[in-house]
Symmetry: C2
Subunit: 358 residues, 2 copies
């Protein structure tokens, strides 16, 4: 049975303060070549090649970032760019895109992707999406993608796999017996040992009528607010009253028809500079260079460091260990790798003390 | 007795690789605001205010740096700028300047200064120079300035004070009984305890005829080579054959008429980034910001760090200790403070591997 043409929704609204100083208010993480030579959103789009044509890729982003999206994804038609007047978390974003797709293809199957994840190998991911699309094709279930953990991460929510209910092209399909918030370390370790828990990836596959039915039942205010919001002004008016809720909480945890397909290859949501050590290949000296456009790294007795620069720039590391060193725009950050997430605190202070650097 | 008008020679030929990436082949340390808001050579010149007028300040520098000198010292007449075709250490530099002064004022007293030292308080230094000029005024002695050590430094040569032979305006004048090369740690500690040893500052005061007589006797090739070298071509021809010797070795150690006046206030030759910790005032968080032209430092739980930037640039330090972080031009350096001197090795590698960054 051939797969009907898929739609994709790329959620690209994040503000990305954790990648300061590379990410700025006007250029968040998804528009940066954090994990490769292309902006992350371009990598995300490229992952859809052969699976979803550009005319069926919708991108939801902040109004101020529309130009960046067009620059990064020139093949996507302008009318496929949906802008949000303000961020309202993923439920609103997903409903906005679902109503747009409904107008074009009411029973179309959609894949929902974040713009800023790293997923490899890409062929395995496409196979998972294909299998998930088949699982979603009858409109009976909402499919979530769960990532098989390779370490006891405490930074992700988890899904507990229930009974295996299907096997599609080699991909098992599970019921989801439970959603779990970010666990503490020992809980995460027990999850890892059990083999039944998966990271909540925030990626979904469903039929348009199925997700809209779920909104109608479980988030009726969102459904009613966005159903007829076709103009920018109407969307702005509707958003003003919407609650800010992730779709996991608003829909998935409360739905009885959720199923899960596992991702058992590399997935990383690249949540902070330190995460690059899990995404990039280390160089011969044991550092992780993240260099674009002619940037260079030179080291002398330095290892375990993540070094990010945009060219033509040089980072020189001498005698240091396990640091994150980032040079971007008009700012330079130096922090231990294991404290890189605290950069958020610096960014908050800079909003008041030095807005020209944020 | 009033002091005759003094001459000053500012030696500004250093290449300063130890301050990379701020110092570059075309902009060595003496032209950078390493220790304040003005280039070090401008600070050196300002120290002569009220003591030596601009028309009697000679500057010896490399040919490629003449424009930088003119920019930093606009008051110094163009004919007072002597350029060396290549670096031949301080003996040649000093002889070149001495012959120029001889043509203007054969028995004039000169003070010889490096362009890149930090000396404070400036009034104390001027008083030392005045006393040294009096000590040199009869032409019988070559005066060297010795710095009373405040720690057992192993990076300087030492002078051992002999008998006190004079007291000029409160400044003792000593014979010099011995010159000592850079000592090891325990020797330096015994020097410090003895109270008789002084750091060799590389600054001198003497009468022009006295230093030229010393050259004639002790370095006759230098004397003969430079005596009549008045044109650029003649200087270039003479330099080609000159040996590269510091004046301390070539003249001072071998002279019987050397006397020393102590500097017992702050002197620092700022030999590397880590030396800035001894020169700059620490901020409230215990870091040493060296920031010019609107550069900024923001720290979150970081201390003991030297942070250098030229504006408009921000350095953000989070959770790090005792680092040197330098952002300048197209390069960023991160190293532990106590290894900052090894930057020379990086610079040597970059000459081959990335000349655009040197």
């Amino acid at each position: 049975m051939s797969l009907p043409p898929l739609h994709a929704v790329i959620m690209a609204g994040g503000s990305g303060t954790r990648f300061w100083p590379a990410s700025r208010a006007d250029r968040p993480k998804q528009f940066l070549p954090i994990s490769g030579t292309r902006p992350m959103i371009a990598e995300t789009y490229a992952r859809l090649e052969g699976l979803v044509g550009p005319e069926r890729v919708l991108v939801v982003t902040a109004e101020g970032q529309a130009d960046l999206v067009r620059e990064c994804l020139p093949a996507v038609p302008p009318e496929n760019l949906l802008t949000e007047p303000e961020a309202r978390n993923t439920a609103a974003c997903i409903a906005l895109a679902a109503f747009e797709i409904e107008r074009r293809d009411p029973r179309g199957v959609q894949v929902i992707l974040a713009a800023d994840h790293v997923i490899e190998p890409v062929e395995d991911f496409r196979a998972t999406l294909r299998a998930a699309a088949r699982a979603a094709a009858d409109g009976a279930h909402l499919i979530t993608l769960g990532v098989r953990p390779d370490h006891p991460a405490t930074g992700y929510g988890y899904l507990k796999a229930g009974e295996q209910v299907d096997l599609i092209e080699g991909h098992p399909v599970y019921e989801v017996s439970r959603f779990v918030e970010k666990p503490d370390r020992s809980t995460a370790e027990s999850f890892l040992r059990s083999g039944r828990f998966y990271w909540n990836s925030g990626m979904f596959v469903w039929r348009t009528d199925a997700i809209l039915a779920a909104f109608r039942h479980l988030m009726p205010a969102v459904h009613a607010g966005l159903r007829d919001a076709r103009t920018r002004a109407a969307v702005a008016a509707a958003y003003r009253g919407l609650e800010s809720v992730p779709v996991d909480k608003g829909i998935m945890e409360r739905s009885s028809n959720v199923r899960m397909l596992p991702i058992d290859y590399r997935w990383n949501d690249v949540g902070s500079w330190s995460a690059l050590a899990g995404v990039l290949a280390p160089d011969a000296a044991g550092n992780w260079p993240a260099l674009s456009e002619g940037a260079r790294l030179i080291v002398e007795d330095a290892e375990g460091c993540v070094a990010y620069a945009e060219g033509p720039e040089l980072i020189a590391l001498l005698g240091v260990r396990d640091l994150v060193v980032v040079r971007s725009g008009n700012a330079t950050l130096v922090a231990p790798r294991d404290r890189a997430e605290e950069v958020k605190r610096l960014v908050e202070r800079l909003r008041a003390e030095g807005p020209e650097f944020v």
